[in-house]
């Protein structure tokens, strides 16, 4: 059964230096509070996994938490570049960042294989592109029935997957709805999982076809209202687009970023 912990204790217990850590949520429900807690606890040498690294990986990379990034689209959505990610790739600041780079379909299917207990997934992708040439987790496989040559991508099984959801019930079952990304697959693929939630409810009343992660598949739940800010939780909050735009300026300059890190992260303050 999932245990209810504080976020601080969940990260301290279940996220270790050197871990492969997936932080999922496709624009919606991004687990920012958990990412910030990882920064505050100064984890190092992490392999971060996210389809869209977004601001949260930019912050973790700039803070020096990541050795490697597994991803498929690394921009600031609707704004432009991720400057800390770019600085790491272009100038090794604060240190070199290894890339394991995919398409969305490729990385999503790595999670599907991981969740399915299979060694790889098959899809029609990557043929003729330079993406496969730079990535050892992409190969090709011949269909035993038709002879068609298809792409194979290696299963991805994170040490820990962290997501944010709208609700947990008191038994520790988790519900999320709206844009659900790869959250279900990334939790099922992982050895451990941490879910931060907007709200803890007595029971789930309505019958919408929301993603449910049963309590016995989730490792830890932390009650963190607003834990996906500045992204959003459908029916709870709106995306703070001004934060995304402000990050473009703030993250451009190393010194300004380091001031942010010092005062807004390490001093335990609220971001921005």
């Amino acid at each position: 059964m999932a245990e209810f912990l504080t976020l601080k204790s969940a990260v301290a217990t279940y996220v270790h230096d050197g871990d492969v850590v997936a932080l999922e949520g496709f624009t919606h429900l991004i687990p920012f509070a958990a990412g910030h807690e990882i920064i505050r606890q100064r984890r190092r040498d992490l392999t971060l996994v996210r389809l869209t690294p977004d601001l949260i990986c930019d912050q973790l990379i700039g803070a020096g938490c990541a050795r490697k990034l597994v991803f498929s689209w690394g921009g600031n959505p609707g704004v432009g570049s991720l400057h800390r990610f770019r600085d790491a790739v272009e100038h090794d600041w604060p240190h070199a960042l290894e890339l394991d780079e995919h398409t969305h379909a490729g990385l999503a299917n790595r999670f599907v294989a991981g969740a399915s207990g299979l060694p790889f997934a098959v899809l029609r992708a990557y043929a003729g592109t330079d993406v496969a040439a730079h990535n050892s987790s992409i190969a090709s496989v011949t269909c035993p029935f038709s002879g068609e040559v298809l792409a194979a991508v290696a299963a991805l099984n994170p040490d820990v997957t962290i997501i944010h959801a709208q609700q947990a019930d008191r038994a520790g079952n988790v519900r999320l709805w709206g844009i659900t990304g790869v959250q279900k697959e990334s939790v099922l693929a992982a050895t451990r999982s941490i879910v931060t939630v907007e709200e803890i409810v007595d029971d789930f009343r309505d019958d919408r076809n929301a993603v449910v992660l049963p309590s016995w598949i989730v490792t830890a739940i932390a009650h963190v209202p607003g834990g996906c800010y500045p992204s959003y939780a459908a029916d709870y909050s709106e995306r703070d687009n001004d934060y995304y735009e402000a990050w473009d300026d703030l993250s451009r300059d190393r010194q300004v970023f380091e001031d942010w890190l010092e005062h807004q992260m390490y001093d335990q303050g609220r971001a921005l």
Partner: protein, 255 residues
């Protein structure tokens, strides 16, 4: 005739290409503006599909990202990311893919990954996202991007997405089911693949642009169609709809 900008005629020309299409897999930025304009004007029943898993989105303002809450709120159905790619895009269910890019070559291959070398790039760009599979699987693709010698290049720094590969026959050799980029629309003109060589060939000039302008903004020796025409200037109605989309977006964004 109203005064219009180069970006406006590019977006309007791109939206016209969606007339008659049932569904469009939409990239963010210029493609999203063109697809939303098409839904409001040239293709009222157009099903907009975004890679966040929102199918049949009917946004009343331009979405700020592919995962904008407005897309989910107005969609016919919202599904997971593995599902949108595996069950919907891959089997070719979405008629048209509309894409942008940082660089394009003569065979409409696209780069959205790096400027410079991969290991030590001068500029690290966001990467592939959904583009490679959209260009591969959709029955046809439309590319919309601003044109200059920096964007229309002789050789891509990185081939993120295959258009026509190295020319005739490449798509079928690579096992790509869709017909590829049938049209490329820039802020200067319109280009379509030559039926034999599959090289993108200038077929229309936007009003005011000349072949010389376009050659000067192209990094390869550009092929020009013998039937070169002028792009129809935007109508007042088209401009009004496009400007209303932008105004609505700005008004809502500051709510």
């Amino acid at each position: 005739m109203s005064v219009f900008s180069a970006d406006e005629i590019m977006t309007i020309a791109a939206s016209r290409e969606l007339a008659g299409a049932r569904s469009c897999f939409v990239g963010i930025g210029l493609p999203s503006v063109a697809a939303n304009l098409a839904r409001s004007l040239h293709a009222p029943g157009l099903v907009l599909v975004y890679e966040s898993g929102t199918i049949g989105a009917k946004p009343t303002r331009l979405p700020l990202s592919i995962g904008d809450g407005e897309l989910a709120r107005t969609a016919d159905v919202v599904i997971s990311v593995p599902e949108i790619f595996n069950y919907w895009l891959q089997p070719g269910r979405i008629d048209v893919g509309m894409l942008g890019a940082a660089q394009i070559d003569r065979f409409a291959n696209l780069n959205t990954t790096v400027i410079g070398s991969y290991d030590r790039p001068k500029v690290r760009l966001p990467g592939a996202g959904g583009a490679p599979e959209i260009a591969s699987a959709c029955p046809r693709a439309i590319i919309v991007m601003r044109q200059s010698k920096k964007t229309f290049v002789d050789k891509l720094d990185f081939r993120t997405t295959v258009g026509f590969g190295d020319g005739a026959g490449a798509r079928s050799r690579l096992g790509m089911p869709g017909a590829g980029p049938r049209v490329l629309i820039s802020d200067l003109g319109i280009f379509r693949p030559d039926p034999k060589t599959f090289e993108m060939t200038l077929t229309a000039l936007h009003p005011g642009a000349t072949v010389t302008d376009i050659r000067d903004a192209t990094g390869w020796d550009l092929a020009v169609s013998g039937d070169l025409v002028e792009t129809l200037a935007p109508s007042d109605e088209e401009l009004e709809h496009l400007r209303r989309l932008h105004t609505n977006s700005m008004a809502k964004a500051t709510d």
